[in-house]
């Protein structure tokens, strides 16, 4: 009797294997992307590019640490933080207002559509559109953050409202309490912890977003960055970049510590 053949591994490609088609499609997508983009690797990897990159980074040092400029950067940092805080606060209020119609009733679908539209457009795009009416400066940035974030928070709040237990609200309603009071004393207290934690989470995200929003002219550190980079003042650019990184790292560390303290 001949020895049994070892079990062979399955064929590499099988027309009924979903994963094979997926992988093939992915490979085609990647190849097509690289092929269609006329990427200038030659320019990026050439010695001149390396030299100019080196010069570029070299000009960062030493960063401009003169007192007036550092004060200016500190002010811009505060402005960034204020933009993110106010934007998030407005967004929380607007989000809660929009979450009410989005959680039940006739207006549910249209409001959800509005929330999705607000959410789909990134902060930076909102900012560049708002520049037309709000002008250069932190107002446009704050409103842009508020618009995008109210889309995000509105949707999350609506889901929280939908999932809240209805018992307490029913109890008040059968006592003849009006809808506003039912919301204030039964529904809101139940969803408040979620509302606060979502808002804080978005605030953290928005600090990061606010730092770069200014690149289109919407205030904060980003505006300072774009301004000095545009003027090729690399020492000042380096200071602004360092402030940006420090702020983001600080927020990350703080949120990590708070999260750990809360979950312990």
């Amino acid at each position: 009797m001949s020895p049994q053949p070892q079990q062979l591994p399955p064929a590499l490609f099988n027309a009924r294997c979903k994963a094979c088609w997926l992988t093939a499609g992915l490979a085609v997508l990647v190849v097509a992307s690289f092929w269609s983009l006329d990427l200038q690797w030659a320019r990026f990897l050439s010695p001149e590019a390396a030299a100019s990159m080196g010069r570029f980074v070299g000009e960062f040092f030493p960063p401009d640490l003169s007192t007036p400029f550092v004060r200016k950067v500190a002010e811009a940092t505060l402005e960034t933080l204020a933009m993110s805080a106010l934007g998030t606060l407005i967004a929380a209020a607007v989000g809660l207002l929009l979450a009410l119609p989005a959680s039940a009733g006739l207006a549910r679908l249209p409001t959800r559509l509005l929330l999705n539209a607000l959410r789909a457009v990134p902060e930076l795009v909102w900012a560049s559109l708002l520049l037309i009416s709000a002008g250069l400066g932190p107002l446009a940035g704050t409103l842009a953050l508020a618009l995008h974030t109210s889309g995000v928070l509105g949707r999350l709040f609506a889901e929280a409202l939908e999932n809240a237990p209805t018992g307490p609200a029913e109890a008040l309603r059968t006592q003849g309490v009006g809808p506003l009071r039912v919301f204030l004393y039964a529904t809101l207290p139940q969803v408040l912890p979620q509302v606060i934690s979502y808002t804080l989470y978005r605030w953290e995200n928005n600090i990061r977003a606010a730092a770069i929003l200014g690149v289109v002219g919407a205030g904060g550190l980003g505006q300072l960055l774009a301004f000095h980079m545009g003027l090729f003042q690399m020492d000042k650019t380096a200071t602004v970049l360092a402030a940006m990184l420090l702020m983001v790292a600080g927020v990350d560390a703080l949120s990590y510590t708070v999260r750990r303290a809360l979950t312990r």
Binding site: S33, S36, Q40, A82, I132, S133, A134
Partner: protein
């Protein structure tokens, strides 16, 4: 005779106090952000705004423009895809280097100093890459390689490389280490232990996270266009600066549709993988 029921919130004093305290705390923020929304309704800014918004209807639909939008939309997707592919080149080796499960020296007691140090340094490097926003990378690369998609691809590659590498490392370490340890203890190489021990149990999670990040990359490749890294964002920026409301409307619609489509595809892929 029963007393009339007093319907007053027993905690109203505290509520009013905290509400007004909040308003007082809010004031510095309002000052710092120059929050004067009424300037938007002054005649000087209301007129161009209304003209711009009026031009939104109807959205621009001439064939030449639509062709341009189609090309730019593809480029946006292509920048995101190429960026993520390059990011994988950073993320996969870095994740392998930084995963503590794949350490041979830690099989017996504590990890030796050098491997532990290498892992920590790789981790810090990833965190550094990740914490510089892609827009800043793009600003820098636009200076070095000039306007165009190259800057966008590189920016996405670096930021997302850091992000993916960090999360891959976390995913690999969160799983059940017994199989991998066993393979390593019996003399298999680190790559073998990865391929036969770690990868099978974590493949679905790794892929699903990558697909999710690809979706995010599409969104950020639009944003990168605003600093001149090509794609839909650059076109959107141009049209906004020229107050061409109809073109802006078309591109916003296309963009929202693109994001929704990517969202659908990614949700479907993740469900199919789970």
């Amino acid at each position: 005779m029963s007393k009339p029921v007093v319907q007053r919130d027993p905690a109203w004093l505290g509520r009013v106090f905290w509400f007004s305290a909040g308003l007082v705390l809010l004031w510095p923020l309002v000052v710092a952000t120059e929050f004067q929304p009424w300037v938007m309704f002054s005649a000087a800014s209301l007129k161009p705004t209304l003209r711009f918004l009026a031009a939104f209807v109807p959205p621009a639909t001439d064939p030449d423009f639509l062709r341009l939008v189609a090309v730019e939309t593809w480029r946006t997707v292509a920048i995101a895809t190429a960026g993520i592919s390059l990011a994988l080149l950073i993320a996969v080796p870095a994740a392998l280097l930084s995963a503590r499960v794949l350490s041979v020296s830690s099989l017996s007691g504590r990890m030796a100093f050098v491997p532990a140090a290498v892992r920590q340094v790789v981790r810090w490097l990833l965190i550094l890459l990740r914490s510089i926003p892609e827009l800043v990378w793009a600003l820098i690369f636009v200076r070095v390689v000039g306007l165009g998609p190259t800057a966008g691809v590189l920016a996405i590659a670096l930021t997302y490389g850091g992000m993916l590498g960090k999360v891959y490392g976390d995913i690999l370490e969160s799983g059940e280490p017994a199989i991998t340890r066993n393979l390593l203890a019996n003399g298999s190489g680190r790559l073998q232990a990865f391929a036969y021990g770690l990868l099978p149990q974590n493949a679905a999670e790794l892929t699903s996270y990558t697909v999710y990040r690809w979706e995010c990359a599409i969104r950020s490749s639009v944003v990168l266009g605003f600093v001149g890294a090509g794609g839909l964002g650059q076109q959107l920026d141009n049209s906004t600066k020229m107050f061409a409301g109809g073109e802006v409307a078309t591109m916003l619609l296309v963009f929202v549709a693109l994001v929704a489509l990517a969202d659908r595809i990614s949700a479907w892929l993740r469900k199919a993988l789970a």
